[in-house]
């Protein structure tokens, strides 16, 4: 056998392993070298890959089976995919990292607004400096920024709600509207007014927040700012140490250039008038600065995605399916309900789920629960994604039609019409294995089936839900251990 022939055979083998996801790093390097060296090897590679593309077109199961890790055999007798063996990314922290790639919300928003926001956010253009990763009740002035979109340098105005940004250098900043700010670089945020909390990992050291009065240089930490337009800047150090300097532009000729260090649990107010002056003020926690007291009281926090809290649900509200933005509506239902009978739920154990049939578990009679209804809203056909965390254990997730109906009467709001006779289905799809990836209806022909991950410690839910308006109602009820 000639060497040329031998290397073609090697390419064939490596390509097949690559297609079957069995290619090691060494083998990948080898494949690259073989393709570099020989035109015949490249022809062979392209031929096999063209065949693969054709095969995927004939049988698209391989393509639509997207998700985190779907290699685990799915046993039809249970909804649950065992969490321990193939899912080393649980517990949650690493799962959240995996979501980075999934959070790119596929948007089918064809309005001019989306075009404008694209121009502003330009998904991958060179001057993007941060990504919007979460939004709670957020509204923007003259723009519509969806979680998952990249943000370019420029000015932004958050009229209300909370938005969480992740800068490309790793810094994470939660801003509370009304806030007006400018992204100047991936290591520099300028705030005209508003409240924020910034968390800086070690490798983003040197991240700077400037305000009209001051320059806050972070020394590896978490801190909060409250900036009043043309007024003052309050700095609260939640963790670590920060240094505050007078702004160069406002520094008087005689002014000091020395920074002021503020330690953990301390807070200072910097005045704009009369030189670079400050006074000690009472320290505020993250929640106090961001004023997300309401969420704090409910015991839930948003880690990723777009969420709107609705605690004034009208009678027919749940029957309306239209939305001009994609978000997860969080509806607090009855609190401290003592279950009179054993209650069936769809999901009760940690794991990654993409099927939502009945009898995933039971909450025993006598348990006291707080109930939340998550209602997934979307413009045309786009998946809605998010990660929500509770401060107490989740006892069960209910996303199967009959189980939803049963619990409507137990823990659901009174005087609200639940969409049970909606003609379509209610809950999450698919309910059985046969519905996965066969493309039999528009919902399953979409990018992926609905997916839910419940974290190992039972406090966090990751969701990816395909919403097709007029084809049923996507809802999930969360029962958590009652605070009382």
């Amino acid at each position: 056998m000639s060497t040329e022939n031998a290397s073609i055979k090697e390419v064939e083998r490596l390509v097949s392993q690559m297609l079957d996801r069995q290619l090691s790093e060494e083998q990948a390097t080898r494949l690259n070298a073989l393709l570099r060296d020989s035109e015949d090897a490249r022809q062979c590679y392209l031929e096999l890959l063209d065949n693969h593309e054709a095969l995927c077109t004939i049988y698209p199961g391989e393509v639509f089976e997207t998700g985190l890790d779907i290699d685990e055999p799915i046993d039809d007798s249970s909804n649950e995919v065992p969490a321990a063996s193939k899912f080393p990314w649980l517990p949650w922290i690493s799962a959240a990292a995996a979501i980075l790639t999934l959070i790119l919300v596929v948007s089918l928003n064809f309005t001019n607004n989306a075009e404008k926001s694209l121009a502003n956010t330009g998904t991958l253009s060179a001057d993007t400096v941060a990504r919007l990763i979460a939004a709670v009740d957020a509204d923007w002035k003259d723009a519509n920024h969806e979680p998952g979109s990249s943000l370019s340098t420029g000015e932004y105005s958050l009229t209300q709600g909370t938005a969480e940004l992740e800068f490309h250098d790793g810094a994470r900043v939660s801003l509370r509207g009304p806030a007006s700010f400018e992204l100047r670089s991936e290591g520099h945020l300028h705030v005209y007014s508003g409240k924020l909390v910034a968390r800086i990992p070690e490798d983003a050291l040197g991240f700077a927040v400037t305000t009209p009065q001051s320059e806050v240089v972070d020394l590896g930490t978490e801190f909060g700012l409250d900036v009043v337009e043309n007024g003052r800047t309050d700095v609260h150090v939640i963790d670590g140490l920060v240094e505050v300097y007078e702004r160069v532009s406002s520094r008087s000729a005689a002014g000091s250039t020395d920074g002021v260090q503020i330690g953990e649990g301390e807070a200072r107010r910097f005045e704009s008038e009369g030189g670079f002056r400050w006074v000690d003020i009472p320290f505020f926690s993250r929640q106090q600065i961001l004023e997300d007291r309401h969420y704090g009281e409910l015991g839930l926090s948003l880690l990723r995605g777009n969420v709107r809290l609705n605690d004034h649900v009208g009678k027919r509200h749940l029957k309306t399916t239209t939305a001009n933005q994609s978000y997860i509506e969080v509806i607090p239902e009855k609190a401290a309900t003592e279950l009179e009978a054993d209650t069936d739920v769809t999901i009760a154990k940690p794991g990654f789920y993409k099927r939502f049939g009945p009898s995933g578990g039971t909450i025993p009679a006598g348990t006291k629960v707080d109930s939340f209804l998550l209602h997934f809203r979307s413009v045309d056909g786009e998946p809605v994604r998010g990660v929500i965390k509770f401060d107490r254990p989740i006892l069960g997730l209910i996303c199967e039609q009959n189980e939803l109906m049963v619990t409507d009467g137990l823990t659901g709001l009174e005087d609200v019409v639940f969409p049970n006779q909606a003609g379509g289905f209610r809950g999450l799809e698919p309910h059985s294995r046969q519905q996965i990836g066969k493309g039999s209806n528009i919902k399953n022909a979409g990018m992926s089936p609905d997916e839910v991950t419940l974290s190992q410690d039972l406090t966090t839910i990751r969701m990816s839900v395909n919403v097709v308006p007029d084809q049923g109602v996507d809802q999930m009820r969360v029962l958590v251990q009652s605070k009382d």
Binding site: E12, S16, Q17, M18, L19, D20, R21, Q22, L23, A28, L31, N32, L35, R36, R42, L46, E47, L48, L49, D50, N51, H52, E53, A54, L55, C56, T57, I58, Y59, P60, G61, E62, V63, F64, E65, T66, I70, D71, P73, T101, L102, L104, V105, V106, S107, L108, N109, F110, T111, A114, E115, L118, T123, L124, G148, D380, G381, G437, A445, M447
Partner: protein, 183 residues
């Protein structure tokens, strides 16, 4: 008089959504060729979908949707490569360039293969055809297949390798015959 609802739509969103959905396998194949890793390919595919949706207004009706989508994908792959650390890239820049073809020739190459491949699949031995269907139609992993058929993962990989070669040979022969008929 109020306009009928559809006349208010700037673009036929439903049609485009269907176009984008139906082109997913082609886009996946197109990106995979250049990235050689399934998970990373899905990542770039998602980004590409996002841009396709957002830029839908720029698509000129009557032109090839596939060509347009591939051009968008090509740009996304370039941008993605730029963003990555070297350790996530299978192909170095020189090999990446060597593998590049014109979009038109790539589309044509795959278009021609689809009908031929269908008949080639039908000519496979029953057990081989079933395996290909489980692997591609049902999207099952090699691990799952190995477990079910009580074979080692390596053995399963070898079987798939042999079937792929058989399909490749069958497609090659048929493409040559087609070419002869055309002349």
């Amino acid at each position: 008089m109020p306009l009928p609802e559809h006349e208010n739509q700037p673009t036929d969103a439903g049609d485009l959504a269907m176009e984008i959905t139906s082109i997913q396998p082609r886009l996946y194949g197109f990106i995979l060729k250049r990235i050689a890793d399934r998970e990373l390919t899905l990542e770039v595919l998602q980004r590409t979908n996002l841009v396709l949706c957002r830029k839908a207004n720029e698509f000129q009706k009557g032109s090839s949707f596939t060509a347009w989508a591939f051009t968008v994908a090509k740009f996304q792959i370039m941008a993605w490569r730029k963003d990555q650390g070297r350790n996530r890239l299978v192909f170095t820049e020189d090999v990446h360039e060597l593998l590049d073809r014109t979009t038109a020739s790539e589309i044509e190459s795959v278009d021609r293969r689809i009908p031929i491949l269908k008949s080639c699949i039908n000519k496979l031995r029953d057990e081989d055809r079933e395996l290909i269907q489980q692997r591609y139609r049902d999207g099952e992993s090699v691990e799952t297949l190995a477990q079910r058929l009580k074979k080692s993962i390596d053995a399963m990989g070898m079987r798939l390798l042999r079937i792929r070669k058989r399909l490749r040979d069958c497609v090659q022969i048929n493409l040559k015959q087609e070419a002869r008929h055309e002349h």
